[in-house]
């Protein structure tokens, strides 16, 4: 089964193609990790075209779409989620969302990525790679978890521990999507893991407009 995997939860967008078999094995055929900053919308569809070209395949060859649901900065995150939803809709394909942190590193670990506002998105995993806690958003000083940490090393100082550099990968996305690929009825809604409410407070009283 040919899987297109996407993720825009971090400043490095990922587009990958993998051949997935029902035994759970996935062979990555092509992958692009593009440092995008806040230009995910500009660069994601060109990256998809590139991985298809790299693998000598076309849109018509795809069987399923997998996308990271974050957590991550909202604007970029939505670009990936809506792209996956629209591609799948246009081709009549199933689409599955996974927690992006599940696709960072492997084995027993605590994943930390940049949540801005001096906080990290985090999740913890056991030796089998299963998520045991999170995803959450917290100040690194308040995380209070043992390592090993993987993800964004910029937070090593504030965590008081080393952070091994690791990013979202196509293989990681496929691994995280395994249960849904095996049993599509287990798929959840294709909605971002925002973890934060929109910044908006209703006005408390009607203020004089002339002020």
């Amino acid at each position: 089964m040919l899987v297109l995997a996407l993720d825009t939860a971090t400043p490095t967008l990922v587009a990958g193609l993998a051949d997935w078999s029902e035994h759970g094995a996935a062979e990555v055929l092509a992958e692009r990790a593009v440092p995008s900053g806040n230009r995910h919308a500009e660069l994601l569809t060109p990256a998809i075209t590139s991985v298809l070209d790299d693998a000598g395949l076309t849109m018509g060859d795809l069987d399923v779409v997998v996308t990271g649901l974050g957590p991550g900065p909202f604007t970029g995150l939505r670009v990936g989620v809506v792209t996956a939803a629209a591609l799948a809709d246009a081709r009549g394909l199933p689409v599955f969302g996974v927690c992006s942190l599940d696709a960072v590193g492997s084995g027993a670990r605590t994943v930390v990525t940049d949540a801005r506002r001096k906080e990290v998105y985090w999740a913890a995993y056991d030796e089998s790679g299963a998520r045991t806690d999170g995803p959450g958003v917290v100040r690194p000083e308040d995380l209070g978890r043992p390592g090993p940490f993987v993800g964004d090393p910029a937070f090593a100082g504030r965590l008081g521990a080393d952070v091994a550099t690791a990013e979202v990968t196509t293989a990681g996305l496929l691994r995280a999507a395994g249960p849904q690929l095996l049993d599509p009825s287990s798929a959840g809604p294709l909605l971002p893991l925002y973890l934060r409410r929109p910044d908006a407070t209703p006005p408390t009283a009607i203020k004089a407009v002339s002020q």
Binding site: A41, L44, V81, T83, A86, L87, P203, A208, V209
Partner: protein
Amino acid sequence: MADQPLVLGFETSCDETGVGLVRGHTLLADALATSMAEHERFGGVVPEIASRAHLEAMVPTVHRALADAGATLDDVDAVAVTSGPGLTGALLVGVAAAKAYALALGKPLYGVNHLAAHVAVDELQHGPLAEPSIALLVSGGHSSLLLVPDLAQDVQPLGRTVDDAAGEAFDKVARVLGLPFPGGPPIDKAAREGDPAAIGFPRGLTGPRDAPYDFSFSGLKTAVARWVEARQKAGEQVPVADVAASFQEAVADVLTAKAVRACRDHGVDHLVLGGGVAANSRLRALAEERCAAAGIVLRVPSPRLCTDNGAMVAALGSRLVSSGIAPSLPDLGADSSLPIEVVTA
């Protein structure tokens, strides 16, 4: 007609998720989802709430449009999307979706200017635009006067608001009067019972040395608030209908006077209105009156098409395809302050 291309249009620049289908000048579908109710208690559009709503509404709205048009995605010949101006996060949901549909369907993609799309939508009701035309676009997000020699590639800004958009002034005055958000429809309604000459509110930027085509609504808004507060402090009842009618008259007076002057100064005899405020009944009536007196042909889309929608984007896309304009490049993004001169991004 069937040989004209079918264009799928996306609009997500503010709080409306619009998906339209247009063939030539024929409107086939205009599906809309709005998050307006979610913004109401904040007294204005909250960008993050709008963006979240766009994402959830996107695919279902596409399918409502297809069902309304009796079409399938395979029938689509080109895709158009508002790439600016507007709220960045909101725009990006539409741009990313449109890029994905275009890529998956193997069809050309046009990133288009939201303001030019407000002009293009009139072609769906009144046929090909007379060129040149003057366009007056007024909404909660924009107040612009444009000279349109060629809608597909030559749109020139004449003037714009120097402070608030006209629609914002309606929202703020509605708040002062205790009327609901958005303020346009309730003020229009209240004004019907009022006297437009009751209070002489100021007309901004109408002095002999002021920029002839620019607008200012901040002073008007403040004058209304001061007037109302003075009555409230004196313990008097506020004559809501008279205030609404007098405020609305001041807005309509300035907008139509400047639009007619732009037509006269540029020797143009066609004026197109667009944007949500163009749904205001007094603005439409006064524009008709003054255009008739000046020998100008006035074109105003129905209120439903004046407000933001996907059909206007599809209409402009259709015009671009038929004019042979090159599609956007694969690295198309969103530009919150896309200049009006840029019709295709």
